[in-house]
């Protein structure tokens, strides 16, 4: 259907998209998971309520979540340059993707952890568990199904953002769709890339759901 060069380009696009999405999700969790834990723990019904810390994190999270991704992408170009050395290309896109993912992931983690039964946490306290133990051995364990579902949603969202980053030379399938489909009116290439994006989202969702269900011991 396509020339060898185009096929190669599309395959590379899939690779780039996966690279951006997965690395950004990973970095997003590296910072977003502690953020979500801090939000859940310092909230007024949390393990260690602290109104000041909660409010600061809460407001910062809201600010970063409300900046449209494209604007964020441009806003943090100086940071991206400082970290990666250039402001375009696949690796550079990981910086804004991660920044956009952190508050989103933080909120997902926060809500997952808040679902954990307060009674189980109280039981752990009655056994002499410290807050750190309760977080690592009770909250993260009991919330794991919900955390995995959250990670699935986060990955899908970051994949969508990565396609958006294509408009400013971010690479990946989104870039191809814009370059060939939009600017050059090659709608066949655009359709293929969009279908591939759909397939990727579907794939992540299926893996996430299967994993979450398999790990959920509440189901008999």
């Amino acid at each position: 259907m396509f020339s060898e060069a185009v096929t190669k380009m599309i395959i590379e696009g899939v690779g780039e998209t996966l690279y951006m999405t997965l690395v950004s999700t990973l970095f997003g969790y590296l910072f977003g998971l502690p953020l979500g834990i801090c939000l859940a723990v310092t909230d007024k019904d949390g393990l260690h309520p602290n109104a000041i810390i909660y409010k600061i994190l809460d407001v910062l999270t809201n600010i970063f979540r409300s900046i449209p991704f494209l604007i964020l992408l441009i806003l943090i170009i100086p940071l991206t340059r400082a970290l990666v050395g250039k402001s375009y290309g696949t690796t550079a896109t990981i910086v804004p993707l991660t920044i956009a993912a952190i508050p989103f992931i933080g909120r997902m983690v926060e809500s997952s952890l808040k679902e954990v039964d307060a009674g189980v946490i109280e039981a752990a306290r009655s056994m002499g568990a410290s807050n750190l133990r309760i977080i690592t051995r009770v909250m993260l364990v009991e919330a794991r199904t919900s955390l995995i579902s959250g990670a699935t949603i986060a990955t899908g969202t970051i994949l969508g953002y990565s396609a958006m980053a294509g408009t400013v030379g971010g690479g990946g399938l989104g870039d191809i769709a814009i370059q060939y489909g939009y600017y050059r009116y090659q709608s066949d290439i655009m359709i293929v890339t969009v279908v591939l994006l759909v397939v990727l989202v579907q794939l992540f969702q299926t893996i996430g759901t299967v994993l979450a269900n398999r790990l959920d011991k509440r189901r008999v």
Binding site: A123, K217, R218, V220
Partner: protein, 340 residues
């Protein structure tokens, strides 16, 4: 010296709608090896009180002493150490739903940094004690309520505590399962000499296994002492109420017969102990005074292993002989109390 001393403890919660006094100047002493019941209607403050014993709630006023040491003087780390000596079980079991039975039981041991092999050994011993050796690898979702509570009991015992706190531990269970769990608690009390504190709203629970009881209402202890004494001679109104509504394990059934409205003579409650059951007291009473009495209710109850007969009698309306009749009953060794 008492093992647990609750000294002038008050607890006030501040909510949006003002302050709530959950506990007011509570004084209770619990001796080592006792099974101590704390009973009260919902909202009486009993759950708050039991949480003061392991400092899950910090009293606003007063002290809690365990083996003579005040919990309020402990550092957070010392307090966590202390909690390892106080097991606790709950109404809703509070098991880790994502962990299997044996890992749930090992949980307190893992917290203390015990090795898995060592913890498993202890957990298997306890599974035997609670009769669930075949459920080692099951998850809580696969167990019945009674089985879950057994797992919770095993978990609470894992670190060899000296005290076991039970917060409405049988309230979510049916009467048969309740009895079997109470039986298990009794065995544990005897086998390991663990002091057990039982929070409940069911008089039947107190009656069946407790040696001592404190009756709580509106955050205050209204009456406390030996269960047998209070059952025979309840002094406070709330104690009488709890005893009268105690019909087997289904405490919540209000037993009000139609006779209540027809006759309006004075009602009394009498309790027979073993030794007073030989003489046909009621029949003799009627023959002696030539006046009928109405038996509104009669029941036999197990109070700490001793069978006690309980009857609610009603005298004729306007009878002049009621005082003499009461005296007659007291002379024959029966405990007599008023009924509102």
């Amino acid at each position: 010296m008492s093992e647990i001393v609750i000294e002038n403890v008050s607890k006030t919660f501040t909510t949006k709608d003002g302050t709530v006094e959950a506990l007011r100047h509570v004084n209770i002493s619990i001796d080592s090896g006792d099974i101590f019941g704390i009973i009260g209607m919902s909202g009486a403050g009993k759950s708050t009180l039991v949480r003061c014993i392991n400092f899950l709630e910090t009293p606003s006023e007063g002290r809690v002493l365990i083996d003579g040491k005040a919990l309020g003087d402990f550092t957070p780390a010392q307090l966590r150490r202390q909690r390892e000596n106080i097991g606790m079980i709950f109404q809703h079991f509070n098991l880790l739903m994502q962990k299997n039975v044996i890992d749930n039981i090992c949980f307190p041991l893992y917290i203390q940094g015990k090795k898995k092999a060592q913890a498993y050994e202890r957990a298997r011993e306890l599974l035997e004690v609670v009769g669930l050796s075949d459920k080692e690898k099951a998850y809580p979702a696969q167990l019945s309520g009674g089985q879950k509570q057994r797992v919770a009991i095993a978990r609470a015992l894992a670190s060899n505590p000296k005290i076991l706190l039970c917060d409405e531990a049988t309230s979510a269970l049916d009467p048969q399962t309740t009895s079997s769990i109470l039986e298990l608690l009794k065995q544990i009390n005897e086998k390991y000499a663990i002091t057990i504190v039982i929070i409940t709203h069911q008089m039947s629970v107190v009656r069946e296994i407790c040696s001592h009881v404190a009756i709580l209402k509106e955050g205050e202890v209204r009456e406390q002492g030996l269960v047998a004494d209070i059952f025979n001679n309840p002094k406070s109104e709330v104690a009488r109420e709890l005893i009268l509504t105690d019909s087997g394990s289904d405490v919540d059934i209000e037993s009000k017969g139609p006779q209540d409205e027809i006759l309006s003579g004075e009602k009394i409650r009498i309790v027979f102990s073993e030794n007073s059951a030989f003489e046909p007291v009621i029949a003799n009473l009627i023959l002696t005074f030539h006046e009928p009495v109405n038996i509104l209710r009669a029941d036999t109850k197990n109070v700490g292993g001793v069978a006690k007969g309980e009857m609610i009698l009603q005298f004729m309306k306007g009878s002049r002989q009621t005082e003499a009749m009461k005296e007659y009953l007291i002379e024959r060794g029966l405990a007599v109390g008023e009924v509102q």
